[in-house]
């Protein structure tokens, strides 16, 4: 019987979806398959789309996919939405905005709940990207959950970070200039026909010392972000945007940063997997340890404090010397 990784490499949607499910469930069944897929990754251009709620990210992505498809690029989309902290459930409603692509064989859309992970992405986003990369998707779009200001984690997962804003939030932009605005490789001002778009463009330019709206590669090799005005409804400005994204990719390739990203991602994946292993082994050991149980009782009856308890455990149970 064909393994899931074989299926993924053959671009079989069913196999990929099943593997993604195991990954989401953090099922060790996924590990073996992922081992076989990693060597086949590193070629996709991974683009993160983040921004304020209500900025129209999904509608923008819908039209961007059109343009990528016109260029015969295959596309993967990972659309992240928040899970309810109370019930653990979620309603993933990004897909509905990309309806016309449902019938396109070369567009794979995966809705991903955050399952409590903060930062606008899901804990397993990186591995989802791995699967789509192994399917040889030319472009992988990662749309963050859209809860706003704190969604900076995306930067580490993607090559190109696109931050989507809308006009009319003047003061708010001043307040949030740290955070998501700092991670942008490309700014998009969507719903550009609405009031405040021009003012926002001016604000961004002055905030980030951007002279023209076009992107720039500076003398020292750094990248100054571009600002694109778009109207997703009437498809205005999207062609320019997708070309701008391609320009960023070319910049990354020329400067070798495209592959550095991959190295960084691999390092982060490695650290994360190691820490997962360690933590699960650790707590497996602790749960059955008598001293641990006693210390918990002591804490519960206020006979100790967590710091002293931790030191004891680190020293005695885990033989950890400072």
């Amino acid at each position: 019987m064909e393994s899931l990784s074989d299926g993924v490499l053959k671009k079989d949607v069913k196999a990929a979806a099943k593997l993604m499910r195991y990954i989401e469930a953090e099922d060790i069944k996924a590990t073996g398959e992922l081992k076989l897929l990693y060597p086949h990754t590193g070629n996709s251009h991974i683009i993160g789309i983040t921004g304020l709620p209500g900025s129209g990210k999904s509608s923008l992505i819908d039209v961007m996919i059109d343009y990528f498809r016109q260029d015969n690029k295959t596309v993967g989309v990972i659309a992240i939405d928040p899970s309810s902290p109370f019930t653990g459930g979620s309603i993933l409603g990004d897909r509905i905005r990309m309806q016309k692509h449902f019938s396109d064989e070369d567009v794979f859309i995966k809705s991903l709940p955050t399952r409590g992970w903060r930062g606008g992405v899901s804990k397993v986003t990186s591995r989802m990207i791995t699967v789509m990369d192994a399917m040889e998707k030319d472009i992988i779009l990662v749309e963050t959950a859209g809860v706003g200001q704190t969604e900076v984690e995306i930067k580490n997962l993607v090559h190109t970070t696109v931050v989507v804003l809308v006009g009319g939030f003047g003061d708010y932009i001043q307040i949030i200039k740290a955070g998501i605005l700092e991670i942008a490789d490309i700014f998009v001002i969507n719903k550009a026909d609405k009031n405040g778009a021009k003012e926002l463009e001016a604000d961004l330019k002055s905030m980030f010392s951007i002279e023209s709206s076009k992107s720039k590669v500076n003398c020292n090799g750094t990248w100054t972000p571009a600002i694109y005005l778009t109207e997703a409804t009437s498809r205005k400005g999207i062609g320019k945007l997708t070309r701008g994204i391609l320009a960023h990719k070319n910049y990354l390739k020329k400067t070798g940063k495209f592959d550095t990203y991959f190295k960084n991602k691999s390092r982060e994946d490695l650290k994360e997997i190691i820490s997962d292993y360690i933590i699960s082994l650790l707590f497996l050991k602790l749960e059955n340890d008598d001293l641990f149980k006693k210390l918990v009782e002591d804490l519960a009856s206020s006979n100790s404090d967590p710091y002293s308890a931790a030191e004891k455990i680190m020293g005695e149970v885990l033989s950890f010397k400072k």
Binding site: S58, S59, D62, G93, R97, E231, T233, S234
Partner: protein, 586 residues
Amino acid sequence: MDKNKETTREIINKNADKNKGKPLFSRVALDAIKKEFDKWKSSNVREYDRNNWAVTPQTMLGSGIPREMIYSPLNISDLDYMSDLGNSGQAPFTRGIHPNMYRGKKFTIRQINGFGGPEDTNERLKFMIKNGATGLSVIFDIPTVQMYDSDDPISRGQVGTSGVAIDSSSDMDILFKDIPLEDITISIVTHYPSNTAILFPMFLAAAERRGIPWEKLRGSVQNDITLEEVVRSGPEYIPPRDCFRIQCDNVEFIRKNVPNWNFITLNGYNLRDYGTSSITEMAVAIANGIQTIETLILRGYEVDWIAKRLAFFWSISNDFFDEVARIRAARRLWYKIMKYKFNAKDPRSMWMRCHVQTSGITLTRQEPLNNIVRAALQALSATLGGAQSLHVDSYDEAYSVPTEESALISLRTQQIIQSETAVTEVVDPLGGSYYVEALTNDIEKRILDEVSEIEKLGGYVQAIERGWIHRKVANYFHSEQAKIEAGDIKIVGHNCYKSSYKTPPIDVFKYPQGAEERQKEKLAKLKESRNSKKVEKALKNLEQACRSDTNIVPYSVECARHGCTEGEIFKVFKKAYGLWKPPVFF
């Protein structure tokens, strides 16, 4: 909309005390009553009732307005008969828009029809006329409503369900064959501005072919942006401001060229049944009306020219007196808006004429015969409120479109009210009731407050674009659903008085087979026989009109004349205006 402009509420409040000054109740009488009332309340009324004096009824789609245990002149102490009520047919029209109301004109009994292909519905229309229907109402199938042709892959399996399939103007010929268009009023239930701008021209072209001048046609279309952009689920939408532009184009064109036709039925019903309160329903329709009139005034027309034919479409739910009071409240409020905000001169401009339909969502699947009772009570409250025409939902609402039998019962419900109860012999029979007058005052104020909220957002179209309406409605229906589940809103047979009695199965409507095939054949023949050059040119001209400031409807009529299909015309709209995605709230 200019945010510094005076709101409608400010204008109305400024004029509030005009003509007042003759309070009905004398100060002396009121003081005496108050003394006795307070005494009675503290000695005769139980403590529990004193502490729970005002109670908010939990009903479906209700207003949430608390009701006191009993009402007296104290609740309407400054009522001035002539300025707050007037006589019927007299400002402020609280008691009715005509002096004699139902004595002069019984309410038009209009039952909705539509299923299968045009040939199938044609039979039913003839049946209704034979059985005493004084007006016809035609509803379209889902692909037609959503503006796709019967041969479009997206229409597969759905042609002829929930309404009649119409793909082109020649289908209109078949639909109205042998029906005397000049002698009967026809409500063509084109919900949206977009499909009104497609289907109504097809109807006009058909009338033209029969040699009937457009001035002789009488009836109405819905033509309401609320239906297209707020309560509809669909795969494709054009942006709200373009939809609103089409709404106004329809109004302008019809007013000019089909002078006896009602060009808009401000909704109302579909919004409410989707899940919102009786207050929001009216505030939205009124805000829409206000913005439409303002737009047409900007186009150079006089308010009286437009407002004389404006009509509303309300849903009637279960809170009996709420429903009576709010129709009266809407009448008075609309009068004030037309008089003080728009300076209308013609009294006909100030009438809140309305068609009502009993609420579909209040009808249950369990024990369906109970629905006959529900609908009858709702119809009665609409009658007491003074509606101009009425549709009574059939008892099998939760199962399918009505059978002949259930449609007949709905018809009989209205005929019994009109002929057996003597309710229609007296105008505004509940006028003067302390309760009804107090409730009318309260509802009027609340509607005006919500209209102001919408105005502060920049107007109705802005409120749609920003998702304000979508959010408000979603919040309402989610909380109503929670109340139904908790049993706070009681539904007999569903969450209270449940019985293990198994309702005998009812006969449900069976859709005629083969409509899809027949429509596809007709479309193939049409495409062969029509002049494709003329079709192409007509569509091109329409696209140009969409992109410019001119009224698009004449171009759509031209398309209809040359046999353009509905799907082809909708494609032009999508191309010219782009696609919009409405917000979804959970």
